[in-house]
Amino acid sequence: MISLNLWIAKFKTVIANKHFLYPFFFLLVALHCTPCLGQKKYEREYTVKADSVPDSAALFVSRLFNNSKAHWYMEESDTTKSIEAKLKHSGKHYSIEFDESGQIQDIEILINIRDLEKNTRSKIKDNLNATFKRQKIIKTQLQWVGSENSLERAVLANMPLEGIIVKYEIVVRGQTENVEAYFEVLFDSTGRIESTMEIALANDDNLIY
């Protein structure tokens, strides 16, 4: 109790002298002068109108998904630009990616990890456990890569046919040795990891202050 009273007395003295303002202003100035120690890769994504995408891309989507409304996005990074159509068709969520000229790159279909064949699912989970100390699958997408004709036939058949390379793109919240973050992990058809990329999250500071 004595130490508490002493602490309160000191606090009142500091307040009376208004000296408490000095460290506060010093901290404020120091924080504004903190040098930037790292850079983030600049990526931008924005909506584009259907009539401003290349004809070949618009035709591919309207031909295969004629009753579904597509939302079009342009994705720009430091080095590349791509166009993506997102739509829901026959109860499934599709993302169809094209390059800037309208050449199709891949088709992604949102699935549940439980929809995968048991052996593939086990290999994916084993590889995730080997990569991360802790992890949780947030989103799973089936990725089909192939020629335009092969992709068209696969969509119509609702299954990957000859000429289609199947991959799995999985977003996980994972903890590595140093950091917990969201990662996009690409697996081949056997469940082997092809690439792992940390997802740079947007600054949401305005939501917490």
Binding site: L201, N206, L207, I208
Partner: protein, 180 residues
């Protein structure tokens, strides 16, 4: 830093006043650290000048922010204690839920607008009295650069719910968020 100016006010059984009036200025220093990718805790100090009196506030807060496909949801639980020269002035606990959605595409990128709505619930205990306040704060935001955001919105609050006539406050808010 936050500053408030009153443009119009009315008390029960009195005529409204539309005179410009300085209300207060707050200077807050809040430091947060990540517990995990979605969770942060923070603490800070605020000094307020109001009616020629300095108020000192100690702040503790926990935040959870989750990004979904098309929007972000933030939960904030905050406790603070406010002191004056005469000792503890009040103790408050608040919960705030906020939803933020880009107005162009799935992510809020530089040079894009976004919409944000906060809804907060605030309990205050002050010298044996308690009060409960509810606020809703819709805002339109603009991301000028990755580290600069500007928001224009309104802040509508009701409190003194236990009394006969509830008190209502309507603020226009202009915010500038700089990440360093």
């Amino acid at each position: 830093m936050e500053s408030r100016q009153i443009l119009s006010q009315k008390e029960i059984d009195k005529f409204p006043s539309h005179r410009f009036q300085y209300e207060r200025t707050d200077l807050t220093l809040l430091l947060t650290t990540k517990l995990s990718v979605n969770n942060t805790i923070g603490g800070g100090y605020m000094i307020r000048l109001e009616d020629n009196t300095y108020y000192h506030r100690i702040i503790q807060q926990f935040n959870n922010v989750r990004k979904f496909e098309w929007f972000s949801v933030a939960h904030r639980v905050l406790a603070d204690e406010t002191f004056t020269n005469h000792g503890l002035n009040n103790f408050r606990i608040s919960y705030r839920i906020g939803i933020q959605k880009p107005l162009n595409g799935q992510y809020i990128d530089p040079k894009e607008f976004y919409a944000k709505v906060n809804n907060d619930f605030l309990g205050t205990w002050s010298r044996g009295e308690s009060d409960f306040e509810i606020g809703i704060l819709p805002a339109l935001g603009y991301t000028a650069t990755a580290n600069n955001k500007i928001e224009l919105g309104v802040d509508y609050r009701v409190n003194e719910l236990k009394k006969n006539g509830i008190a209502q406050q309507f603020w226009v808010t202009l915010g500038w968020f700089i990440s360093i």
